[in-house]
């Protein structure tokens, strides 16, 4: 170590408190904009990539931000439903492939995404174990869900009850795990996938129970020639098994079974444009382009970004002033030390070099700390996009 570097190091070490405070201030001033910038870049890429991969979302008229965030990130929201017959009607038009989505339920806090096999094909989800959920009462887990809950194919997963003390509401459904998907690095990793029919069981629109003639008479409210009225306390099957699967049935018009949204995958950009225009012109549904919605969302909050840029700049400026003042005062306190160096024949620039080197050391250590803190933040901060 050269003499001047050694002297700078010893001086910094001799004034630990002052040096530590300086390093902390500088590191903090660097950490905030670095982390914000890295996070911004990461979320920018993630948000836009997910949106860009999804050509069109169709749903009931209402808040298009809710619709988009629910369809892309499974964000819980009270969307108006779309009857299943709309999917069939749109499919008849031949402009696109339509994928049903139903997202009103959770299983141990994870969103249950009820859809069809086209969704997993579209998102490129590949089973790491088992297979897709193709049967009533089956689920396939995103990689993160499987890891967190420690579940494998063949295990069971209970849905979260919606109305704990209302016996007329469907009970929690015990669902069989049919497969686990490979990690995709998208919100799909945190979801539980099943067929839309399973969601209708969770809704209570479809259910299975013992045949009407075998029901306990205490649960029969009335028997007419053409119908049997049964108490809401009748226990429905809480699990779909090979034995009772055949008893599951729908009530009401199956064409009106509810969906939360539809993903539309047009064959061409032209088909997509025609489809979007036709849907929005008809008025009973709305079609949105996710990239437009995300851009609008970002545009609305752009002013907040400018504010954060200003705060970051102010923080850096005040910290730079603080460092300057500290070293200025330090140089005055070290006047005697400088005179000694001068008397023993050291060149005049050595004094300035000592202070400069000490400042560089502080900046280097602070930079390293800020870099480590930024990396740790990015590593440990929850994935806000997937849990949005």
């Amino acid at each position: 170590m050269s003499g001047i570097l050694f002297l700078a190091w010893r001086h910094a070490a001799a004034h630990r408190a002052r040096t530590s405070i300086l390093i902390a201030c500088v590191a903090l001033a660097l950490w905030v904009p670095w982390t914000a910038g890295a996070l911004a870049g990461q979320y920018d890429r993630t948000l836009r990539a997910r949106a860009a991969e999804t050509p069109l979302i169709i749903g009931a008229p209402g808040n298009r931000y809710d619709l988009t965030l629910a369809a892309l990130y499974f964000r819980p929201s009270r969307l108006e439903t779309v009857p299943y017959q709309e999917l069939e009607r749109l499919q008849e038009g031949g402009k696109a492939t339509f994928v049903p989505l139903h997202m009103r339920f959770t299983a141990r806090g994870n969103p249950i995404v009820a859809t069809s096999v086209e969704y997993v094909e579209f998102r490129g989800l590949e089973p790491a174990e088992g297979r897709h959920a193709l049967r009533l009462g089956e689920v396939a887990l995103g990689a993160e869900v499987a890891q967190t809950l420690g579940l494998r194919p063949g295990d069971a997963l209970l849905s979260d009850p919606t109305e704990l003390y209302d016996i007329s509401r469907p009970p929690a459904l015990k669902m069989r795990v049919a497969g686990v998907y490979r990690p995709s690095g998208t919100p799909d990793d945190g979801a539980v996938f099943c067929d839309v029919r399973t969601a209708w069981v969770l809704e209570g629109i479809a259910h299975g129970h013992a045949p009407a003639e075998e029901i306990d008479e205490s649960l029969v409210l009335s028997r007419a020639e053409e119908s049997v009225a049964v108490s809401g306390a009748l226990m429905e099957y809480a699990e779909v098994t090979e034995e009772n699967e055949g008893t599951f049935h729908y009530h009401g018009d199956t064409a009106l079974l509810p969906l939360s949204a539809l993903l539309a995958i047009p064959a061409s950009r032209k088909d997509g444009t025609l489809l979007k225009s036709a849907v929005n012109a008809a008025g009973d549904l709305q079609a949105v382009t996710p990239t437009s919605v995300i851009d609008d969302l970002l545009g609305v909050v752009f002013r907040i970004k400018a504010f954060f840029d200003l705060v970051g700049g102010f923080l850096l400026g005040t910290t730079a002033l603080l460092v300057y003042v500290v070293f200025l005062l330090s140089s005055r306190l070290r006047a005697a030390e400088m005179r000694t160096l001068d008397r023993i024949g050291a060149p005049r620039r050595v004094g300035a070099g000592l202070i400069g080197l000490e400042a560089v050391l502080v900046l280097l250590v602070a930079g390293a700390l800020a870099g480590g803190a930024t990396a740790a933040t990015l590593r440990w901060l929850p994935d806000l996009v997937s849990t949005f």
Binding site: R48, A52, V99, F122, A212, E226, L384
Partner: protein, 310 residues
């Protein structure tokens, strides 16, 4: 916690700004290869798929002879259907397993969609008993729509468009007009049956003949014995009704038509005690070594021969 996350994400979004231009909206389908076949589980679907794209590109995924309302696809059958470019099915009414299996909607073609709502035949609910057992109720729509020549033609037109567009360029087109000619022959056979009946009613054990009888103008009396090959005694009320119908000589054709499984014991009893000759009638719903139209046409011819004056 949720509020904090929302705040953090809003902050992140705010920091992102909106520098990027709109990305393209073209989506990419998954890379899962689909097989250029039409998967079928019923006789009518096989008939119409073969007529549309050729028999070589039709794949059976259900075993022969199993009634459509009792079949449950195993994992292999489900995988076969999901990986086929198209699945041609009757619909939820005709194939109840569809209510419990997740077929891809965009690749599943339903023959029931070709049937206008007003053309469906509903049979009213009725209360009855099995022997001395508890009374219970049945009812619903009759699913054998393909037995009506006009509806079969409508299904053929619809499925041809759907299947050919999905499998275009994948093989030789079937001979034009072949199916139409065969439907004409079946319709002619039905017309001949109606003429042979000369206003007399047919007595059947199942509602499955409702559509063909309506098309041909044949009066149909249905008495559901519900024997189902289980060895259980027949429905008492149905037997009484059958006896009443059999007693109306001249108003009915003197035959008991079995569109479902023929019960030899009851058939013999009906012959001896009620004077009704039993005739098996294959509605062609299940998969078989002979196609649906052949079985239907032969069944009508057999029935016509049975009611011909001796």
């Amino acid at each position: 916690m949720g509020t904090v996350r929302t705040l953090l994400l809003s902050t992140a979004i705010a920091l992102c700004g909106c520098s990027d231009q709109l990305a393209g909206t073209e989506g990419a389908h998954g890379t899962t290869p689909l097989r250029s076949v039409v998967a079928v589980t019923s006789g009518p679907a096989e008939l119409l798929a073969a007529a549309a794209v050729g028999q070589a590109r039709v794949e059976r995924v259900a075993p022969s002879g199993i009634p459509l309302d009792r079949w449950r696809p195993d994992d292999g059958a489900l995988d076969a259907m999901v990986s086929a470019r198209r699945v041609l099915v009757l619909g939820d009414e005709g194939e109840p397993w569809l209510q419990r299996a997740g077929l891809p909607p965009s690749r599943t073609a339903r023959l029931e969609a070709a049937v206008p709502v007003e053309r469906w035949i509903e049979v009213g609910s009725f209360t009855h008993t099995h022997g001395g057992g508890e009374s219970h109720t049945h009812g619903g729509v009759v699913v054998e729509t393909w037995t009506d020549p006009d509806l079969l033609r409508a299904m053929a037109r619809r499925s041809a468009v759907q299947l050919r567009s999905a499998l275009e360029g994948g093989g030789a087109a079937p001979p034009p007009g072949g199916l139409d000619g065969r439907i004409d022959a079946y319709a002619a056979e039905l017309t001949a049956l109606a003429a042979a009946l000369d206003g007399r009613a047919l007595i059947a054990t199942h509602h499955g003949m409702e559509y063909l009888c309506r098309w041909a103008g044949i009066r149909l009396e249905v008495t559901e014995l519900e024997l189902e090959g289980s060895g259980a005694p027949p429905n008492d009320a149905a037997v009484r009704e059958l006896a009443e119908l059999a007693g109306q000589e001249g108003a009915q054709a003197g035959v008991l038509v079995w569109p479902g499984r023929l019960d030899p014991t009851f058939a013999e009893m009906a012959q001896q005690e009620l004077g009704l000759r039993s005739v098996d009638f294959d509605l062609g719903g299940t998969l078989s070594d002979r196609d649906t139209l052949t079985r239907l046409t032969q069944s009508v011819a057999r029935l016509r021969a049975a009611i011909a004056p001796e």
